[in-house]
Symmetry: C2
Subunit: 351 residues, 2 copies
């Protein structure tokens, strides 16, 4: 199994501490946590665990459809974003997948489980050159983009996405866009490719509740596509993969517009703060980010740094298992002001 951020259990076991006592910068979760009221709502609905989820997830689909401005038929609820990616690769049968790297490591693993030949397009820490990408992609293959990209935080603008989609249509290339972090971008919803869903038969968008709505424990994501695409992918889905509590939570949180606005306000402020403060530390070189995390190159011993922070109850993400990066890169989540200050203080006192 690939190691991901957010494995507080492992480090809590190592340190013999409560997982909740760690400050976790390794997972890119909303620092506000989950929306107020969700807890009470789930508490009052807990008896629903005695019933199967609605196999059609009609109310959940309707809530998502309203949230993104499309129809029920465009939505495929899934067990985290990962299940939607897996099912899309399985249903849309292509031989090859092109992955711009560095990016989320599961794409490669999911592709290999689906017997796709994986090819890389190395972009490093700079943003993607679209023309170069188009030259590199094989006709009739598949391309996956993480937008904004994890771990670099770079964002492909919406005009470039449209240009790319037209070129890919000519090349009969199927495009998956993972928008797991799109709601954290400053110009959301303008930054999202959702508007293209019904115009392009070669587009599938992935979203999740995990990051923005702060519920990684519930495993809730969804795919967005034209009705024909959704129906094609659904044929490969196992029944009831989203459980009742996730279903209920999903329906609840999307209505909370003040949580959504407050999150975006704080992330913008704190991203700027964290970037500025990280830049002041002589051995850290952060890259500008449009998302809720910051990638940085470090010129100190990564193992020593990680251990130093761990002793202070702080987890960060080392990027050694992002293909295309190595141990000299770290990724930190943008958290609340108090936590961000603790991180900066700890980093400043290193060495």
């Amino acid at each position: 199994m690939i190691e991901h951020g957010g494995n507080v259990y492992k480090f809590a076991r190592i340190l013999n501490r409560e997982p909740s006592k760690l400050i976790d910068f390794s997972a890119n979760i909303n620092p506000l946590g989950f929306p107020q009221g969700l807890k009470e709502y789930l508490l009052s609905s807990i008896n629903h665990i005695a019933f199967y989820p609605d196999p059609e997830y009609i109310e959940l689909k309707d809530a998502i459809a309203k949230y993104i401005g499309l129809r029920r038929e465009n939505i495929l609820p899934s067990n985290g974003a990962i299940e939607a990616i897996y099912l899309c690769m399985k249903a849309i049968k292509r031989d090859r997948l092109l992955i711009p790297i560095p990016t989320f490591s599961e794409y490669e693993r999911i592709a290999k489980i689906n017997n796709l030949t994986v090819e890389y397009f190395f972009t490093g820490t700079s943003s993607i050159n679209i023309e170069e990408l188009i030259r590199r992609v094989y006709p009739k293959s598949m391309l996956i983009l993480c937008n904004p990209n994890n771990p670099t935080g770079s964002l492909i603008d919406i005009d470039s996405i449209k240009y790319l989609l037209n070129k890919l249509l000519e090349l009969e290339v199927f495009l998956i866009i993972d928008e797991a972090f799109i709601e954290f971008t400053e110009n959301y919803p303008e930054s999202s490719a959702v508007r293209f869903v019904n115009l392009y038969p070669n587009l599938f968008i992935i979203r999740c509740f995990t990051k923005f709505f702060g519920i990684p424990g519930l495993r809730l994501g969804y795919g967005i596509g034209r009705e024909e695409i959704i129906n094609k992918i659904k044929k490969f889905a196992l029944p009831w993969s989203v459980n009742t509590i996730a279903d209920l939570a999903g329906r609840y949180v999307l209505n909370n517009s003040s949580f959504i606005e407050e999150t975006r306000r704080i992330i913008k402020l704190e991203r700027e703060f964290l970037f500025r403060e990280l830049s002041k530390i002589s051995w850290i070189f952060p890259y500008p980010s449009k998302a809720n995390f910051i990638l940085a190159k470090i010129s100190v011993d990564p193992a020593k740094l990680e251990n130093f922070l761990l002793q202070r109850g702080i987890l960060i993400r080392n990027c050694y298992n992002f293909t295309g990066l190595d141990r000299s890169y770290i990724r930190v989540a943008v958290k609340d002001h108090k936590s961000n200050i603790k991180l900066i203080e700890a980093l400043s006192s290193f060495q």
Copy 2:
């Protein structure tokens, strides 16, 4: 999507009633519901939704291992029993799958998603002839057994399982046994094939929390096999497919021995009661069952009967979509005494 029992949402929508107001004999869930204390435990742990599940599910595996008397390395937690079946078929690559029918309809669907050629062994409503089964199975293929079988309620005894396993080993046939209902059998744990797990490299057992522990909403199951088999199958698993609430619930319920004993006591009593009372109705012909449901042939119009019961808020399962059965078969769950009496009264007043 195949229609299953337990879709109370659909009928609640049709009848414009609360799902919880229906008496659901269509899903084979423990009539005691879930163990006492679970609700309070989940309420006190609800903040865990803000964390990713432990990707290794170590505490859950340990709880299951203790419950069935094996080791952590023998356990693969899964999103319902269905995910474990899917992953096993995907990882243990065989060309053909033999399915004794009638049985749970998802086996066929999951096999087809995995490109297996499906063959049927028709047993009808009688129990499986093991010698005949061995003659029918192709060498180096795969066989799946539901034990006790859904919807017939018949159970293959443990000596026959052992005999079969030895023969299948010679034939290099891989055997999946779905024990979703095994804990409802009178002679559990003697009835379970778990004791053979470490002796046979061609055996994978499926269990779930759904039925016996009354938590279909949480989607929690597990596979049991030799360590090498578990490791082989794990390679195809998507991370975090069991969510935090399901993980917590699983760890909690297995400790409740009084719930387990009380369930078995009630099921035995009520199965006998229901069978006796169904036998008294002239147009119903129930088959003896070792599980928590009863299959019956009816000699009245199935659509009229279903509609008649639905008007009284009672759901039963028509068996038309079990390959090998048709509309003239129904399946009813063994529920609590009060509900069982309501069913018998309603059935007795039909026509």
